[in-house]
Amino acid sequence: MPKSVKVKRGLSLNLNGETEKILVDAPKSKIYTIKPPNFHSIVPKMVVKEGAKLKAGDELFYSKYSDKTRFVSPVSGTLKEIVRGAKRRVLELRIEADSTIDYRDFGVMDPLSASPEEVKNRVFSSGLGTFIQQRPYDILANAEDTPKSIFVSTHNTAPLGASFEFILKSKMDHFQTGLNVLSRLTEGKVYVGVDAESASALKSVENAEVVNVSGPHPAGLVGTLVHEMEPMNQGERVWTVRPEDIAIIGELFSTGKFNAERTIAVAGNAADERKYFKTLIGAEVKTLLSGQNPEACRLISGDVLTGAKVEEEGYIDYYANELTIIPEGNHYRMFGWLPFKDNNIHSMSKTSLSWLFPNRKYDVDTNLNGEERALVVTGEMEEVMPLDIYPMQLIKACMAGDIEKMESLGIYEVAPEDFALIDYTNTSKIEAQDIIRQGLDLMITEVG
């Protein structure tokens, strides 16, 4: 009997602009870009110089503070440009791609027969370590650690979220090999959260504990799974890996190639062609637009709650499996603050009539629908927080930088994405994810 997690508190947003389940090849990007800021708190030490010839899987840089975690090129080609920002911080590595990809051969390895050390070394030296996040702090995993357990969530409950079931359909062998790899990295279990409603092949994976997950968003966030299965204690480390990255890990072990293939779902009510596009990590955004002119639109690399803004001439983020396109909302609404007015905008609050139509799908834009105010309303954050945590108290502790309080209120158990719905629903328009991120960063510098 598989374990199950039933989430009660949360909010599943019903938005227009879902991706059709059609898989097509995206046009080839000329340039692929790795953005070091995608790896939070990593300071890159460059290994290659501009003009270097690279194979897919060749090393680009490593972390200044942990040289075991290596970052590699997703494509073969020439390192054309290193874009730097203030204080010469590396912002982007732009790689001009060859017409056909030439892979570096890491050699085949059977994770189940190799020793755990060999498996771990292979993972971190071949660039696969970049796919493993650690909790607490929501940062890249440290190659020196052995995690208590490893968590994977294949149930994407985020609004307009890409379906992992669809993305992984043709990669189930690699996914299974990837899980075998993960099972060697921990002494505990590898938990795989799956949609309780679906009858997907993901439910019959081996060397992992399958957990049936149901309920509204954030049921599918990996943080919810961690909290329900093995809540974190101070001093513990768990790792989390995104499902499509597990397939990349598996493929490297079974073929020896670092195949940075990404299936990116284009979604959103302003997107013309809403399909799944097959491309590589760091591809140009415009190769996913099918010729659409995204003027007056917000391009989001990721989902509407946690993604990052990108430009038409920009590049998809390292971890993004989605490009969401919604209209910019820089317009005025006369007397829009009146209760029960503008019910076409979704609201969790009962001061709008939108709750009368639970099945309605909403068009969204980026309007803030108000202005930032002092924290006044209480009780609303708890409604979208399924973790056993007092969200407002924790946010206030983070704002005050009170480390002891943050610790006792459970800062080790959370990641910014767990607070994304609070960003969305809170009346005072405070930036909860940003505050939690700053709180976590403070913990890293003070506690480590």
């Binding site: 509407v304 006369m334 603050w337 834009d365 002092a374 007092y390 969305y424």
Partner: protein, 390 residues
């Protein structure tokens, strides 16, 4: 609409950053955002946002206050004429009341919002909407004949000492509207209690008795009203507190829209009913009690400012308890204490004001212990884990 927008943008021009009137921006923004929800877009965090904002929340409270306010205005006129022994039409009573009440509202808003604007400019933040509610509540809980300058002074005290001294909206310990009333109550007791302040111009006429029901009970005189009067509110009292019916209409709006927490309202009434029942039972336990303790428990719920206080003041999210469990405890204690103060201390026939203010002070303590439960759970988990691995 676009014409008004264009005009507004023209007016706002000198207030934009870099221009000379820049620091007065919060003031002009407050007026602008009253007409239009601004065109601000999300810059970080979630890219989409809920339609709710603080303005919408606060206006919902104002809407919920309207039934009680309208009734209060009419009742002001009705009480005035009926105590003179005159028959009076609805409109006439309403007009008399409006002439008394509207100036109080104007003074309260003008003075309070003035201070809010000054602080917003001084501190460089936008004007918070909380005062839209506070500014209406203050006149509604005052006796009708209180001089306007006293209203103004109470407002200044409440906003400056009760709110801004603590850091502004969201930081205050005490409910600002009740702070204003408490200030007036202790600073000008002759205008805030007794038997001549509750009916408009009562002092000018000999022989009429404008005492509130609780005042009469405390003094031991006979009460000429039935429960139905107390429920509908055709009785003397502070301007808008008398009608439990209208207060309940407001409570319904607040609870359905979830703007006020139903836990506080329900537990407040439970607490008061429990204390009322206990006091009613005193004679059967061999204690005589007084007229107030023997006053039927259900009448305690509908007389005086109890219902108004629990529905509109105790639920103020800033000064109330903030945790779910805390809200139950907080509401329950407000109910218990309000009736206890009301019955056992005849100097304060209205206990709800003091009981809410007292619980405002204790709300952070209640929350502390509720949150501490969560913290302890976490510590215990860590301990059992360390024991296991050791």
């Amino acid at each position: 609409m676009s014409f008004i927008r264009k005009k507004l943008d023209e007016i706002k021009e000198p207030f934009e950053p870099g221009n000379k009137l820049e620091k007065y921006r919060p003031a002009i923004n407050a007026l602008d955002t009253f007409l239009f929800v601004p065109n601000h877009t999300t810059q970080k965090g979630a890219h989409i946002r809920d339609a709710v904002d603080l303005k919408r929340t606060m206006i919902t409270v104002v809407l919920a206050l309207v039934p009680a306010l309208l009734f209060g205005i009419w009742n002001t006129g009705y009480q005035h004429f009926s105590q003179l022994g005159q028959e009076v039409g609805i409109m006439e009573a309403f007009m008399h009341g409006a002439l008394k009440v509207v100036p109080m509202i104007v003074v309260s808003y003008a003075v309070g919002l003035g201070i809010e604007f000054i602080y917003a400019i001084k501190r460089g933040h936008e004007v918070n909407e909380g005062y839209l509610v506070t500014g209406l509540l203050i006149p509604m809980i005052m006796p009708v004949d209180i001089p306007l300058w006293m209203v103004a002074l109470s407002v200044i005290f409440a906003v400056l000492i009760g709110k801004e001294a603590f850091g502004g909206t969201g930081m205050n310990i005490l409910n600002p509207a009740l702070t204003a009333r408490a200030f007036a109550f202790f600073a000008y007791p002759t205008y805030m209690s007794g038997n001549e302040v509750w009916v408009s111009e009562a002092g000018a006429v000999d022989g009429i008795s404008g005492e509130t029901i609780l005042g009469k009970l405390a003094a031991g005189t006979e009460v000429p009203f039935e429960s139905i009067h107390m429920f509908t509110g055709v009785i003397p009292g502070s301007i808008a507190e008398t009608s439990t019916l209208c207060v309940l209409a407001g409570a319904l709006i607040l609870m359905l829209t979830k703007v006020a927490d139903w836990r506080i309202i329900v537990s407040g009434f439970i607490g008061a009913a429990a204390m009322g029942l206990l006091l009613n039972a005193l004679p059967s336990m061999g204690v005589d009690g007084n007229d107030l303790t023997n006053f039927a428990w259900y009448n305690h719920l509908i007389v005086g400012g109890f219902a108004f206080g629990v529905v509109f003041m105790a639920t103020d999210p800033v000064s109330a308890a903030q945790t779910m469990k805390g809200k139950w405890i907080y509401g329950l204690l407000i109910g218990l204490l309000a009736i206890l103060i009301r019955t056992l201390n005849p100097a304060y026939p209205e206990g709800i004001m003091l009981s809410i203010l007292l619980m405002n002070v204790f709300a952070p303590t209640i929350d502390h212990y509720v949150v501490e439960g969560n913290v302890k759970k976490r510590k215990k988990r860590l301990q059992t884990k360390t024991v296991k691995t050791a």
